[in-house]
Amino acid sequence: MQIDELQQIATQVRRDIVRMVHQCKSGHPGGALGCTDFLTALYFEIMKVDTSFNMDGVGEDLFFLSNGHISPLFYSVLARRGFFEPKELGSFRHINSRLQGHPTTHDGLPGIRIASGSLGQGISVAVGAALAKKMNKDDRLVYVLTGDGELQEGQIWEAVIFAAAKKVDNLVVTVDWNNCQIDGTTQQVCDLGDLRAKFVAFGWDVLEMNGNDMEEVVRTLKSAQQHTMKDKPVLILMKTEMGFGVDYMMGTHKWHGSAPNDEQLKNAFAQLPETLGDY
């Protein structure tokens, strides 16, 4: 797929995201907008997926969202990719919906393989799925996205030690490195220090990219594929801007977990023209 086609999809996904959080007056637009280019590239260009969806995903690449609060992004990408009808996006966070506030397998939404929301659990799950692939002699890859604030969870580092020690090299973890969390910047809340040096010291193969440059995202993800199967788990430190694509949501952690009002929605829509058709 051409870069401009991917960008068109990403624009529609961003439009979906602001619409979804506006409609239910809750949710987390900031991180979702920041990671839109990454997840669009992953699902439309990088991963081999089967939209008819079976849980085991044998012969497919798998993706796990560890920072489950950016669910509107996940739902929009899955819908736009064909896992379910985009019109279902309108049920986000409503009663009796399959699109729960945080992703869940509980209601059978195609594309979701694990519940997430309570942070720090996704890498462990992905490691398990990656080990199952090795046992099944399945050479496809397992991808995970985590937040950067999420790296403050201890379980992350249990998984990071394990994946290096056991050479889980069919695994690509991406960290959304936007420096923002609920109570402020990551530096203010609990500084993560030199993340590259930390992951290198833990035995990972570390790449970096600008997560808001589609061309660079695609190129880096393709490069990451080449780094797999070489005895080391692969990490991508992905610099993003929270709220990317909606100017008033950028450069602040204020939009981590709040929804736009009617006027703000109109403003956001003006910046995100409809490309694939609204749901």
Binding site: L62, S124, A126, G128, A129, A132, M135, E158, A165
Partner: protein
């Protein structure tokens, strides 16, 4: 059916029953994968690991990660059996079990040894007495507490063939083996009647089933007709069996190596309160941590001996 003929010829630890059970389950089903957080010897996993080295995952001392890996392994069709001590496999990782296993409906078997007071000398840090309660509260979780070596072996094999998350609780001490090896009456969720009686019902789980048998034998000698029920499955609870028995005896004693809060006794109390009012006495640990000591000393000090069950039975019969 009297308790007089129930006896034992041998004692073994329930965890060894697990060790044999998982080995046999591994032979029967190639999808069984065992995980352990640095306690292979204590969990009796040696034979499984020796036979299936590629189906064993040593996670190191990182239980949260072990639960997550187990959840991930199910995606790809594996049947992961996550093992450690009961304290580290439940309370320490409650949220991981809640979100990645139970809420995600993953086919993970959490199999834990050293539950309760009878692990002995290590003391209260390791003697979890809250795990039944923690696990039974999770929607969709099956909770089993088999009573001896033979039954733990059977339970281990049975849970592998049952889809869905399971917590299997067993222990460290050698304990009388009084059930039969290939018990045709054993079934997940089905209470076992060890005797038929009309004066009092005694419902027990785990190690305390043996104490219930001993207590029942003494009561029978006094001319009391006792119905002893082995409730090896706490959830789903065999409500019909409880009601069938209590409608006859009109009173119940429960016995378990667990806090009174959250245990088997509370599950039985809930059934009685909702469906058939009858007096109930609970033999359990009363809002206390354990401590160091031998298993027998601890069971004595915390009131979990046959004599405590006898006293509870006499008290509950007087309340009818």
């Amino acid at each position: 059916m009297s308790l007089a003929n129930i006896t034992y010829t041998e004692k073994k630890d329930t965890r060894s029953g697990f060790g044999v059970g998982i080995y046999e389950a591994g032979l029967a089903n190639k999808n069984v994968v065992a995980l352990c957080a640095d306690l292979v010897g204590s969990l009796k996993l040696e034979k499984f690991i020796e036979t299936f080295p590629d189906r064993f995952i040593q996670t190191g001392i990182a239980e949260a990660n072990m639960i997550g890996i187990a959840a991930g392994l199910t995606i790809g069709g594996k049947i992961p059996v996550a093992t450690t001590f009961a304290n580290f496999g439940t309370g320490r990782v409650y949220d991981q079990i809640r979100q990645s296993v139970a809420y995600s409906d993953k086919n993970v078997k959490i199999c834990c040894s050293h539950a309760g007071l009878t692990l002995g000398e290590d003391g209260a840090t390791h003697q979890i007495l809250e795990d039944i309660g923690l696990m039974k509260m999770l929607p969709g979780m099956t909770v089993m507490v088999p009573c001896d070596y033979n039954q733990t072996r059977l339970a281990t094999k049975a849970i592998i063939e049952k889809h869905g998350p399971v917590y299997l609780r067993f222990g460290r001490p050698v304990w009388p083996i009084f059930t039969i090896a290939e018990d045709p009456d054993f079934e997940i969720g089905k209470a076992q009647f060890l005797s038929e009686g009309k004066d009092v019902t005694i419902i027990a789980c785990g190690h305390l089933v043996w104490h219930a048998v001993l207590a029942g034998q003494e009561l029978e000698k006094k001319g009391i007709s006792v119905e002893v029920i082995n409730m090896h499955t706490i959830k789903p609870l065999d409500v019909d069996a409880i009601l069938r028995s209590v409608q006859k005896t009109k009173c119940v004693v429960t016995a378990e190596e667990h806090q009174m809060a959250g245990g088997l006794g509370e599950s039985v109390a809930s059934v009685l309160a909702q469906s058939y009012l009858a007096p109930l006495e609970m033999v359990a640990v009363k809002d206390s941590f354990g401590e160091s000591g031998t298993p027998d000393q601890l069971l004595e000090k915390y009131g979990l001996m046959p004599k405590n069950i006898i006293a509870a039975a006499e008290k509950v019969m007087a309340r009818k």
